[in-house]
């Protein structure tokens, strides 16, 4: 399916969704904000400063900042941890249940504990988000390290490649798809925890705005913020993640089962 058709199908699905929304708004007006009202509220959000005089993009920026920095931190820590587990049998046997345990702790508990220990501030937020998403990165990188091809390593050893060359040309490219999967799962959880942290602990951010409007039972405003948030997600997905993914995998065959040269 070529690009144009894909875009058209996506556009169609968005239209269908909008249509369902409109119907829902007419059928259950107390529960589902109408399409028109949401659009009007959206305009208000975008043009007028909100609580504490902060414009909409301040909240969006703060949310993006928290998930962004936490992601970077969790990638560093998670990769080191995951690769260590994947390459050392001893370490793996000693710590594997511990990692699974870490994954199983409810994120809400982690957030609240951080709030109590660190305080109701942004620092607690950064630590909490990082703490929740790091095991996702670690698990993916662990799998990646375990799946390193020993035959390629043997080939590199035979030719006498030094550590740096082997790392750069043989090991890292094999880990990249796993790193990508790690970033994806960490990001998808991370957004949610960031909103959670902002809703409970902080006076700014998209999560805070949700909470604020929820407290006022302003469903229309909540829905508008949801639209803004979804647009942000889509921008990150198609503007950042997909291009990076395409760049990193351009050596793969484009069409399955077809050899370009024989």
């Amino acid at each position: 399916m070529n690009r144009l058709r894909r875009v058209l199908w996506s556009g169609l699905s968005v239209l269908v969704l909008a249509g369902l929304w409109w119907l829902g708004g007419r059928a259950l007006p107390e529960v589902i904000p109408g399409l028109g009202e949401t659009a009007a509220a959206l305009v208000v959000i975008l043009t007028e400063p909100g609580p504490y005089g902060n414009p909409w993009y301040y909240h969006v920026y703060k949310t993006a900042e928290m998930i962004g920095l936490s992601l970077i931190l969790s990638i560093v820590v998670g990769t080191v941890l995951g690769v260590a587990l994947g390459t050392s049998d001893r370490l793996e046997r000693a710590s594997s249940s511990w990692i699974y345990g870490w994954l199983a702790v409810p994120s809400l508990v982690i957030v609240f504990v951080m709030a109590v220990v660190v305080g109701f501030n942004a620092a607690a937020g950064y630590i909490a988000v990082t703490a929740v998403i790091t095991p996702f990165v670690a698990l993916n990188m662990w799998e990646g390290a375990r799946n390193l091809d020993p035959q390629l390593a043997e080939m590199a050893t035979f030719f006498g490649a030094d550590r740096y060359q082997t790392f750069r040309e043989v090991i890292v490219p094999q880990l990249v798809p796993f790193l990508f999967a790690a970033v994806r799962s960490a990001l998808s959880i991370g957004w949610k925890i960031t909103l959670l942290v902002e809703a409970f602990l902080l006076p700014r951010g998209v999560g805070f705005m949700f909470r604020r409007n929820f407290d006022n039972y302003d469903l229309t405003m909540m829905m508008s913020w949801l639209v803004i948030f979804v647009i942000l997600l889509v921008i990150v997905e198609y503007g950042v993640l997909v291009p990076i993914h395409n760049r990193l995998t351009h050596w793969r065959p484009e069409v399955e089962g077809v050899r370009v040269s024989e």
Binding site: D162, P253, R259
Partner: protein, 265 residues
């Protein structure tokens, strides 16, 4: 079969003959105890010759080649070249594995350059070598292509070019054509012979295919399933050899008989 004096290969030099004596290697297998993979193996690889290690799967031929390559450390035995004791690091070697073992995320050119970089070949020589050796294996136009878009035979050719580019004195080849279809394998065998005769290096070729060994080699070392080198047999058939030469089939049958005798003892 006549024993013909072959036209002397460029680079033929008895003092460069590699001699292995008493090579022993055992592995610990959990649950099976200690397995002797190489049992006092003696091998002479004459300079400029094409020598095959022939034997059934699992008889230790790959292990022996890995000992020479320095990938496996023997438990006993010596390696001498021209009388002097040597280690794998002293030898100038190339290795073609059974699988191409290419870096899928690098172009064909960059794959060859990987070996050049690993061997500290000066960058100024890279372009010439890449062009020359890719041309030698018939892949001059594929240098910007990726391995995932090549056929199995082409990938193996890239692997050959990669090993050749380091200009080794001895090529180690571990069943390099066994995963290819017979037609492609036949083509590559002939190309290998052409390259061998043009470049004059020594080749140690591992195979379980008696026909292949007879077609390619000057002489053959036969290994049993218990890691023992039990015979060396000269293949005295004039070159160029043809697949349909009855002398090849005859020699093949003789060797097969010997294996059968020895292995079914």
């Amino acid at each position: 079969m006549t024993a013909t004096e072959e036209a002397s290969q460029p680079g033929q030099d008895a003092s460069a003959d590699l001699a292995l004596r008493g090579i022993v290697k055992h592995f610990e297998k959990p649950g099976q105890g200690r397995i002797r993979v190489l049992d006092e193996v003696d091998v002479d690889i004459e300079d400029g010759a094409l020598v095959s290690l022939l034997g059934p799967s699992g008889c230790g031929k790959t292990t022996l080649v890995n000992v020479i390559a320095g990938l496996v450390e023997p438990n006993a035995g010596t390696m001498r070249k021209g009388g002097r004791e040597v280690t794998p690091a002293d030898l100038s070697l190339g290795y073609i594995f059974q699988e191409p073992r290419l870096l899928d995320w690098r172009t064909v050119r960059r794959n060859v350059e990987f070996a050049l970089e690993a061997r500290d070949v000066p960058k100024t020589e890279w372009d010439d070598r890449v062009e020359h050796y890719l041309g030698m294996v018939g892949l001059a136009d594929e240098h910007d292509n990726y391995p995932t878009r090549l056929s199995g035979g082409m990938k193996q050719r890239v692997a050959i070019a990669r090993a050749l580019a380091t200009e080794p004195e001895m090529m180690l080849m571990d069943e390099p054509f066994s995963s290819l279809d017979e037609i492609t394998a036949g083509d590559l065998r002939q190309e290998l012979l052409d390259i061998w005769q043009a470049e004059g290096m020594t080749i140690l070729f591992v195979t379980h295919d008696i026909n292949e060994a007879v077609f390619l080699s000057d002489y053959v070392y036969m290994m049993s399933g218990s890691g023992q080198m039990f015979a060396r047999r000269e293949i005295d058939i004039e070159r160029p050899r043809h697949y349909d030469d009855p002398a090849i089939a005859e020699r093949e049958a003789e060797l097969y008989g010997e294996f059968h005798e020895h292995v079914v003892q």
